[in-house]
């Protein structure tokens, strides 16, 4: 993908989400599906951005740029779920259904007996599936079990802290369709990197709002930004956002399970710090429902725990790092970032993500 194409895609996404998200959030809060935002999103083809170029997309990095913009503007539609669902359909050789998609993708450790994707399934209850009330529900299971198109028998509506739909889905009867998925494709890790990209975008917005407020608000006869304590909070927010962004970009450049795990862990860790300091900068006004800050800080608090929180991914990474002893640590670190010496290049984390 050329840099120019990448910029164009990100700009298109940013323009759309910037213009439409606020109204769409109001619609969602009143219980309506943000049809208009969804329609434009679907028409622009942004949901296909993460597909490889030969499949009509622009690659994972472009998809993550779209998700960054979605996070930046708190776009209240299933951008990540539809994008990763589309990518999984492509990898499984399945036709992509029209309309929004969502994905039930449990962590690799919980895959041993995943009833949702067995052909002989008779009943399953899938908790907290994003947007299941409106989306086609896909599910991935253990390697070799494939990608299932589920037929929900009941959907109980719920929400995350930010009011984004997270529904409990009851399934009875076998899936509509079941497509084999290459064993190296890890749907849970792909959702994790997607959430990390959204977290990154949300952190950028929180930083921008904090900078603006610190410049406008006057106390003790000077703007907040003239206080060194505030300056250092802002520097720390910027540092946390930058570390998150660097990890996401590195994982996009060298896509593997190690990078996805590290990026989501770093993003989830940063989210709490960024939200805490932003509220400290904003004072009481930032704690109101009227002020916009909470649209983003609630997403930070919700998304950091979705698709594996930092502790989950730390354990995955730690278990991987510990294999091979101290001498293997450095080559493993280098290989994970894609700048590898040939003979150590095989040392990627066991939960492989999307191949290059």
């Amino acid at each position: 993908m050329s840099d120019e194409t990448a910029r164009l895609i990100e700009q298109t996404a940013d323009d759309l989400f910037s213009a439409e998200s606020e109204g769409a959030r109001k619609a969602l809060a009143e219980g309506a599906w943000p049809e208009r935002l969804w329609q434009i999103f679907a028409e622009t083809g942004l949901a296909q951005a993460a597909l490889p170029e030969e499949a009509g997309g622009a690659g994972l990095a472009a998809g993550l740029a779209v998700l960054r913009a979605a996070g930046r503007h708190a776009a209240p539609i299933p951008v990540a779920e539809t994008m990763i669902g589309t990518l999984l359909c492509h990898r499984a050789g399945a036709e992509v259904p029209d309309g929004p998609l969502t994905l039930y993708a449990p962590p690799a450790g919980a895959l041993a007996a995943q009833p949702a994707v067995r052909e002989d399934i008779d009943a399953a209850n899938l908790p907290r599936v994003p947007w299941a009330r409106i989306a086609t529900v896909l599910a991935v299971g253990a390697p070799g079990h494939g990608l299932a198109f589920l037929k929900p028998s009941d959907v109980v509506e719920g929400a995350n802290l930010a009011g984004e739909p997270r529904d409990d889905v009851a399934v009875s009867g076998p899936p509509d369709r079941l497509h084999p998925l290459p064993p190296e494709v890890d749907g849970f890790a792909l959702m994790a990197i997607a959430r990390a990209a959204q977290l990154r975008g949300a952190m950028e917005q929180v930083l921008a709002m904090s900078l603006r407020y610190a410049g406008d608000r006057v106390q003790f006869g000077r703007p907040l930004k003239r206080f060194q304590a505030i300056q250092h909070y802002l520097a720390e927010i910027a540092g946390e956002a930058a570390a998150t962004g660097a990890a996401v970009d590195a994982a996009a450049q060298a896509p593997n399970g190690f990078g996805f795990a590290a990026a989501k862990a770093r993003a989830s860790q940063a989210a709490g710090t960024v939200a805490r300091l932003a509220h400290q900068v904003h004072g009481a006004i930032g704690y109101t429902a009227e002020h916009d800050l909470h649209h983003w800080t609630k997403r930070l608090w919700a998304w950091r725990d979705e698709c594996g929180n930092e502790a989950y991914w730390w354990q995955v990474l730690g278990a991987h790092a510990a294999q091979g002893g101290g001498a293997a640590l450095w080559p493993k670190m280098v290989a994970a970032s894609g700048s590898a010496v040939a003979e150590t290049a095989g040392a990627t984390v066991s939960s492989e993500g999307e191949g290059r």
Binding site: L207, H232, A238, A243, A319, Q323, G325
Partner: protein, 386 residues
């Protein structure tokens, strides 16, 4: 959008082969020389290692061939340097000269300075000290009071520099001196000078650090006369020059790798199947290191393009030095060993000694090359709030 991006650079072709070459060299060197792996400034002062490295072409890598350099990219240099640091190789002797003094002379030095000094640095024979801090000028570098005054045939320098690492075993210092009024910005009237520590009449007094090591010094200039051609760059441009030098000092892999030998020791001690709490602690460091290395590499990519990313470098050093401290803290919590210091025990196992050296070294990590508080102020300026 607000904030700072660290775009991953494309590594030049041949990087993997270069990395393999450095690893093979280090394996052999360690087997033959038996150096003790440590951080860049904790490692042994080894002129022989520096000369061997120079002969390999791994010092002054990015400089023009006519000055003894090898015209490699900043990213190739990054690969060599991070491999040296990750192995804990004894790079201390040539470190400052290779990282910042040589590049400074290349950019601002006279043709004669370049021709006489750079090839010796690149050969691993010529070492530099940094003459910035003074007794009354630490973080507030613009307040330096060491004066350089013009004389009939050169300059006369009066003042005192402190915390001058390795002045007692380096050939040169680059000293930041006041040559004129500070002006409203406080950044005017500063100039940099090349000081010959062997020939010029500088008193070098040791300052022993809390670990009992003689690393830094007090350097007293009393009517030290130096020739006119020792001025580096333009008179009055010292602040601009020193700012560029600090960007080089702050952004390198040594700001994230100083305790990597302890990280490896932690992983080694944990064994292949650590219990979940220990795995979590290791994983936390792993994720942080992944992000930091990406940031540090991105800065190298910006240097390669000719940018001098001062703010990004400050972010890397602020977060990187805190990570380095966290490695030591994680190790001591996870593996019950007691750190041993100088004189603690001649029989101390290496892990105890390495942890002891780090515990005693850690306070300096977040001070040298700019305190983390100064770095955050630089970041705040980059955000437009200062």
């Amino acid at each position: 959008m607000t904030g700072f991006d660290f775009p991953p650079p494309a590594m030049p072709p041949g990087t993997d082969a270069l990395r393999a070459e450095v690893r093979a060299f280090l394996t052999e060197s360690h087997a033959n020389e038996g150096w003790r792996p440590d951080s860049d400034f904790g490692s042994d002062w080894s002129a022989s290692f520096s000369r061997t490295l120079g002969a390999q072409g791994w010092i002054g890598m990015c400089w023009p061939r006519r000055y003894g350099g090898h015209e490699r990219s900043a990213l190739e240099r990054y690969v060599v340097v991070e491999e040296l640091l990750a192995a804990g190789a004894p790079v201390y002797a040539h470190w400052v000269a290779d990282r910042q003094s040589g590049p400074l002379l290349l950019r601002f030095g006279s043709e004669e300075q370049r021709q006489t000094i750079l090839p010796r640095i690149a050969a691993g024979e010529c070492y530099f000290a940094i003459g910035m801090s003074e007794p009354d000028s630490g973080s507030d570098l613009a307040s330096v009071r060491t004066r350089a005054e013009r004389t009939a045939d050169g300059w006369r320098i009066d003042g005192t520099k402190v915390w001058t690492s390795n002045a007692h075993r380096s050939q040169y210092m680059i000293a930041l001196c006041r040559t004129g009024p500070a002006g409203d910005s406080r950044h005017e009237g500063l100039s940099q000078f090349l000081i010959d520590l062997e020939a010029d009449n500088v008193q070098i007094n040791p300052i022993v650090n809390l670990a009992g090591k003689h690393d830094f010094n007090e350097c007293v200039f009393e009517d030290v006369a130096i020739p006119a051609d020792r001025l580096i760059g333009q008179e009055g441009d010292g602040w601009r020059q020193v700012t560029g030098e600090l960007a080089l000092e702050r952004s390198g892999p040594e700001r994230i790798l100083s305790t990597f030998h302890l990280f490896a020791a932690l992983v080694e001690a944990a064994g292949p199947g650590p219990e979940p709490r220990l795995a979590e602690a290791i994983g936390r460091l792993t994720a942080e290191f992944y992000a930091l290395r990406a940031m540090s590499l991105a800065v190298a990519g910006q240097l390669e393009k000719g940018d001098l990313p001062e703010v990004e470098a400050a972010i890397v050093k602020d977060m990187g030095t805190r990570f380095e401290a966290e490695v030591a803290e994680t190790l001591r919590r996870a593996v019950p060993v007691e750190p041993v210091g100088v004189g603690g025990s001649a029989n101390a196992p290496s892990l105890e000694a390495a942890l002891g050296a780090s515990v005693l070294g850690l306070p300096s990590f977040t001070l040298r090359g700019g305190t983390n508080e100064v770095l955050r102020s630089i970041i705040a300026r980059g955000l437009g709030v200062r």
